[in-house]
């Protein structure tokens, strides 16, 4: 039956169709919906968990695959950096049941720190990678990835990109077969990594790459069509973009569609190169296929000009589009471009940067720290989550942001070198559990002087409100032990720990001042739930006492407060009545809001 499915939903249902028994992961755009879809459609026979981070998730999945079960682990591309330690070793050890490592790449980047290419990771780790071009293909290919993994006894990388993950398509969904839940770990010395074993397995890995290169030359999702002296190579969603143009001009160019960048199907590529003078390679992110093709031309003494990223024919950075590739194909085939008359540019359009939601407790937390540190030299180390948006005007409270958990640790290096500056890190609750805790222990052990601010909104908000260890619920719909952040901090040796509601502005400011005054490691936990997971309160009201000073608008940048016709308005569809604005109005003109006014 045909269903309109998002690529990530298709991958999830495809994995269920392939008989997956365990799914683990850590949320990250554009990968998150895969695990969520399995959990939503789970009849209880599949074990599903959000792990605390990607390294943990990958190890949990590997353990499952050691028993012969099929396991799926999901993450975004930067998550693979965290999980790279177990992945590199697992490539040498291998698995018994099929294990697919789903890593979603994000050309653009639209919602990421880097434009790294997971296909490079595949060749670095020496494990095969599959790269679907559409949701329908992803549904079918994920099953092939499990079968390949099981047959070869190796983890397999599955790498969709944003426009495959988040595109929807009418997908043919099949009945799921029954899976036996009977798995047993067989003890064997092959599961224990040792230098001698690694040496032997390294030899096998290289042999397997050669064998797989041959197999992938016959893989039906890799295909050469057409003929001529000019050839086009396309992979991933670039193939879909290119087909918009190429399907209009049949016979103009030879085409190679590639779904396996590593191991590179050399035999197929040699057949493709036969009779060609020039090739255009179209792939987002790194020139992985382009480099392999260039290497092959050298090895096989083929005199072919290769166009792509290396000669500037196509850009290295950013995502591709139908238009970008149409222009490239036209230039490559020397087709004169018929340019459409341009539409007149619109008048100055409003800029709509993403902002913290109206009523977001992070706004109050940032504002409290800003007030507490007024007039003092302070460096604010941010982290990954909604609260990265605290860098925007007028809050302007994020001076650094690098990667998950780095706020806590970078603050320590900064404080050691710049004498006299206060360093304050902002870490979300989910990020704290992800990679924050080792940094806290480091700060205590090495006697750093810093203040940790934990923004505890009781959810993983940015990626769509996933539970985490502090919440007390799991993806198996069970109630579990809540891990108490304050208790963790104290157990790590943090002596000064305060928990306060950031929407109680005077108390919040006092808590920050007291923590900063404490020499050594201190912590303030700002606890207030994300407005997206709580019932909103009654909107505030602007009274006649408003003198139009606009202090509320200038200070906190709440999207529910607007200025028009010489006065302040409250957008009642947005205001949650958090009461932050009522506490900073100099004429007490804003009424209502929470009980903090």
């Amino acid at each position: 039956m045909k269903k309109l499915l998002m690529g990530n939903q298709a991958i999830a249902l495809g994995a269920m169709h392939a008989g997956v028994s365990l799914v683990s992961g850590y949320p990250g755009t554009p990968s998150t919906e895969v695990l969520e879809t399995v959990a939503r459609n789970n009849d209880g026979s599949i074990y599903v968990e959000w792990s605390v981070n990607e390294k943990v998730a990958l190890e949990v999945a590997a353990g499952a695959a050691y028993t012969g079960a099929r396991a799926l682990v999901t993450m975004k591309q930067v998550g693979l950096n965290v999980a790279s330690d177990p992945l590199m070793s697992l490539a040498y050890i291998g698995v018994k049941g099929g294990m697919v490592v789903l890593v979603a790449d994000d050309p653009g980047p639209i919602s990421s720190q880097t434009e790294q290419d997971t296909r490079r990771f595949a060749s670095y780790a020496k494990i095969p990678v599959l790269d679907p071009t559409s949701p329908q293909e992803a549904y079918e290919m994920i099953g092939e990835a499990f079968a390949l993994s099981e047959r070869l006894g190796t983890p397999v990388l599955f790498r969709p990109t944003t426009r495959v993950c988040h595109a929807c398509q009418d997908v043919e969904v099949l009945e799921n077969p029954q899976v036996s839940g009977d798995f047993r770990f067989e003890k064997d010395s092959k599961w224990v990594i040792f230098p001698r074993l690694s040496y032997q397995n390294h030899i096998k890995l290289e042999e397997r790459a050669v064998q797989l290169s041959r197999e992938f030359s016959a893989y039906p999702r890799n295909a050469v069509t057409g003929s001529g002296r000019r050839g086009v190579v396309a992979s991933g969603v670039s193939y879909a973009y290119a087909m918009e143009t190429l399907s209009q001009m049949p016979g103009e160019a030879k085409l190679m569609k590639l779904a396996t960048a590593y191991p590179f199907p050399e035999d197929l590529a040699l057949r493709f190169l036969e009779g060609l003078d020039e090739v255009l390679v179209m792939e987002e992110l790194d020139p992985v296929i382009e480099d392999q093709l260039t290497l092959l031309c050298g090895k096989a003494f083929r005199k072919v000009v290769i166009h792509g990223k290396r000669d500037g024919f196509l850009p290295h950075a950013g995502e591709y589009s139908v238009e970008l590739l149409r222009d490239a194909i036209d230039r490559f085939l020397h087709i004169p471009v018929a340019s459409a008359p341009p539409t007149a540019p619109p008048p100055s359009l409003p800029i709509r940067p993403p902002v913290l939601c109206a009523g977001c407790p992070h706004r109050a937390s940032f504002y409290a720290v800003k007030q507490a540190m007024k007039g003092q030299r302070a460096i604010f180390c941010g982290d990954i989550g909604c609260y990265t948006l605290g860098n925007a005007q007028p809050l302007d409270m994020v001076d650094t942001c690098l990667c998950m958990g780095a706020g806590i640790t970078m603050a320590q290096g900064l404080a050691r070198m710049e004498k006299g500056a206060h360093t304050i890190s902002f870490t979300g609750d989910s990020t704290f559990f992800h990679t924050g805790i080792p940094g806290v222990i480091n700060a205590v052990y090495n006697q750093h002087d810093m203040t940790l601010v934990i923004l505890d909104n009781a959810t993983t908000a940015m990626t769509g409100h996933q539970p985490h260890p502090g919440i007390g619920t799991t993806m198996m719909r069970e109630v579990s032990t809540k891990v108490d952040i304050a208790a963790v901090l104290r157990a790590c040796g943090v002596e000064h720990v305060a928990t306060v509601d950031p929407l109680d502005l005077p108390a919040a400011i006092d808590a920050v001042k007291a923590a900063v005054a404490h020499h050594g490691v201190s912590a303030v936990i700002f606890r207030s739930p994300c407005i997206a997971v709580t019932k909103p309160g009654k909107p505030v009201a602007i009274t006649d006492r408003c003198v139009g000073c606009q202090r509320c608008i200038r200070e906190i940048g709440c999207p529910a407060l607007t200025w028009a016709d010489g006065r302040v308005f409250v957008d009642e569809s947005l205001c949650t009545g958090c009461g932050l604005c009522t506490q900073l109005c100099p004429t007490h003109a804003i009424e209502g809001g929470a009980c903090h006014a």
């Binding site: 309109l4 755009t29 969603v237 008048p347 359009l349 409003p350 800029i351 993403p354 709440c558």
Partner: protein
Amino acid sequence: MRSFSCLLSGVGGQGIVLASKLLAQTAMETGMPAMTCETIGMAQRGGCVVSHVRAGENCFSPMIPQGTADVLLGFEPAEAARHLRILAPGGICVTASRAIRPVTASLGAEYDGDAILEYLRLHAPRLLLVEDQQLLAKVGSPKCLNTIMIGAAAGAGAFDLPAESFLDAIKANFPSKYIEMNLFAFQTGYAYGKKAVTP
């Protein structure tokens, strides 16, 4: 072979992703293959949201190539103006008329609503401005703008799809407690759109 493409544009929180799903599911009800594509994530936080819907054979890219869309469905005038160049010659632009000022406007940046409406009138030969506030009041729920807008565009004949197929798609895909409200929202929009294009 029947086919159409529609770009939906607006700001976070307007229900654009659901509207694009409804459009694609309606196309599927009539036997057409369908694709959609949207940017989600950060965009939910009051940023610009765009969703592409393509239906019919021979679609490869989930995103509509520039200058080829049959319909531009704006949920806000500036967001319609921002994407006007995606329309094919002869394409129709249907947009909600109420301007939504961003936080940056409150902080001093410009938003000249009249200039934007003037631009749309000048450069979109087929333009339907939908009095969205008036229709929302009639339907009685601020959450129904998306279905009203789909209805208005359908009523104006923007899609090659019968009204009944939209109603069937709503019944088949919406949670039961929202079906009635959305059927009414669609019909309200549809009547508005139909009246607007009837000479």
